[in-house]
Symmetry: C2
Subunit: 189 residues, 2 copies
């Protein structure tokens, strides 16, 4: 009978493989078989720990999203209003690396066809939107939804822009776009 | 010996199947086999017209991109400066339908792993960037690159935003983001 530590280690390996395959090739390439091959195990060894492909996706994506959410919370910790808002947005578009952005893009692209991905992405977006709206309100801006929309479009655009161009934009180029956005929504710097 | 019209009809069917599969599932799902199945032909019937998967991708993507480029050129036709710029951007984020945006996203996501896709996307982006820069210059704005960067980030963000949220944003909500962007780059309305 496997010990608890084995189960945790195995689920971690499965989750890492799901994230790696999704990042490299997209979620359509994530199957029980491809994950088993990646971790050098049999498909039955994988299904011993996750009952189905859907359960495997949910466990892996939820864990990965939770890691990103914890990073975002750390970036905002002890901050408020405009300063916290800038910290969250800079975490999203400056700190996160290319692999993280590729995983996020795979999640967005996969969500229309995979309800499990849609649900995990929606849960993260609810958390994100609540924080963005609260911080925008704290800055004293009255058109909260307009400001949040522009911020969200710019964050998505900076994340995807790196792949559209083929090479990630340097930090200064991203910062210039953020500065223009900050001026556009009327937050004093 | 097949007549020219047969060849054209077959290449059109192959191209349509490539675009449909890429739009639905991504370019990793586009194979000679999946295209043959989609059009109800044998794999050898497909390879009779396209020598390889790469050639099939190039023909299909180039044709699809050319259709979009013609639409964009029609939107700008007879216009100049700020008016032409707005027409091009509105074509990209308001006129194009969800399937078109999904295809574009599939192209961007597939480009890092598929040099054929990267080359076709780069060719389109060169065309796009040249037009954006020329029209921004015609408006009299001096910081051309800064304005072009913000515009491109907003266009990418509006395209991806529909999938991030799960439902496309209504036209008025997209227009509001464009209006804020226009004010940010200092183009008189």
């Amino acid at each position: 009978m496997p010990r608890a530590v084995d189960r945790t280690a195995r689920l971690t390996a499965v989750g890492d493989a799901v994230v790696t395959i999704a990042t490299e090739t997209g979620f359509t390439a994530v199957t029980i078989r491809s994950v088993a091959e990646r971790i050098g195990a049999s498909t039955s060894a994988v299904t011993h720990y996750v009952g189905s492909r859907d359960e495997m996706l949910r466990i892996a994506v939820r864990r990965e999203v939770q890691v990103r959410r914890s990073q975002a919370e750390a970036a905002m910790a002890g901050r408020h209003g405009a300063v916290a808002l800038r910290a969250l947005v800079e975490w999203a578009v400056l700190t996160a690396d290319e692999a993280t952005h590729r995983f996020w893009l795979a999640l967005i692209v996969g969500a229309p066809n995979e309800p499990i991905l849609r649900a995990e992405l929606d849960a993260f977006n609810d958390w994100w939107d609540t924080h963005i709206r609260n911080m925008v309100e704290q800055t004293g801006i009255t058109e909260v939804q307009h400001a949040a929309d522009l911020l969200n479009v710019v964050v998505d655009g900076l994340v995807i822009g790196a792949f559209d161009d083929g090479t990630p934009w340097p930090r200064a180029r991203r910062l210039q776009v953020l500065d223009a956005t900050w001026r556009a929504i009327g937050i004093a710097e």
